[in-house]
Symmetry: C2
Subunit: 206 residues, 2 copies
């Protein structure tokens, strides 16, 4: 993309990450470092030449870096420290998009990890938790683990440890709960909770 040539922080930020696909690549790497093919799978719709171009751009600008794993073969792409600092504005945009998301998927592609990032964006600001609990959200066969403590909320893949409860529900239901526009009590038919319902309420409740 052409530079805006404006001495303004927003314009200079967009000179780097404003190119089409760039922030979505950052999104994938905020979820976890990834290989080229994993990025292609996590970015449905991108053309392979564009992914290669953007990875080059982002690397030369210092947003991402290539790592060679100990096993020797292949390349792993990861965010630099500065690139990882994009989590704040990215999660801000995700919070802003809530009205667009509660309308439902409408045929769009979906990856469970994206929901994990959205939950991180929606739940982290309100550091809830005089009670500690861990809950698994099962979507598309993948389990996202939410753990709340006094320090805040941690979101990530299921680490195999014990869960206080397991929730099965559609993504937009989970998002509605996390955003506070839905209440658990109104949705018995749409949510399947196994285990400690109070733990779910502590994390996703009003």
């Amino acid at each position: 993309m052409r530079s805006y040539r404006q001495y303004c922080g927003l314009a200079r930020a967009l000179d780097i990450v404003g190119d089409r696909w760039n922030l979505l690549i950052v999104r994938q790497l905020l979820i976890a470092p990834a290989r080229y093919q994993e990025l292609l799978g996590g970015l449905p719709g991108i053309a392979t030449n564009l992914l290669a171009d953007r990875l080059r751009d982002l690397e030369t600008e210092g947003v991402i870096e290539r790592r060679l794993p100990d096993t020797g073969n292949g390349i792993i792409y990861a965010l630099t420290d500065w690139g990882a600092a994009l989590r704040e504005p990215v999660e801000g945009l995700i919070r802003w998009s809530t009205p667009l998301m509660i309308r439902g998927a409408d045929g769009d592609q979906f990856r469970p990890h994206w929901l994990g990032l959205a939950l991180s964006a929606l739940l982290t600001p309100r550091a809830r938790g005089n009670r500690s609990a861990s809950v698994g959200i099962v979507v598309d066969g993948e389990t996202i683990q939410l753990r709340v403590e006094r320090t805040g909320v941690k979101v990530g893949p299921h680490d195999g440890r014990n869960l206080d409860a397991t929730v099965h529900a559609d993504p937009q239901i989970i998002l509605g709960l996390a955003a506070g526009v839905l209440s658990i009590d109104d949705l018995d038919a749409l949510i399947d909770i196994q285990g400690d319902k109070a733990a779910v309420r502590a994390i996703l409740g009003a």
Copy 2:
């Protein structure tokens, strides 16, 4: 721009504001509602047909609205409530861009209001102020007023009221101070402070 067709908050947000120029238009309207010609002047480099296109898009998506002033003639563009909520991610991107800004303008276009928005982004998070003070920053002949109180920092155009101090310095110096990478004491030759130096230190100091 084509939709990403991804059921992800970031992708849906970028479907709306990811088009080139869109976030910069939002930036201008975060500073103040504006007429078409004012937007053209505040967005150096944009083509007039693109501005018209983008304003239409943003209006149909509910980010901005057209207002007819009491004087009757002309159109005033302003953010909707939802559009104004973009302040958070926009200021996040501005904070992220600090390393790009302290390098200096390098011939890029500049508008004093942009510095005001950057100061808002950098100073608001750290709600400083056991002391109340108001300071004017003079850049390119325009005065930006910073007012700190217990409740936080307010940034805006000079309202004509008394200032505790007036600062003359280049934008990158002001940004370096606000970002905490420069210290007032090291820069006597580059900053001209008239009035209460302690008030300046209370707002821009370490």
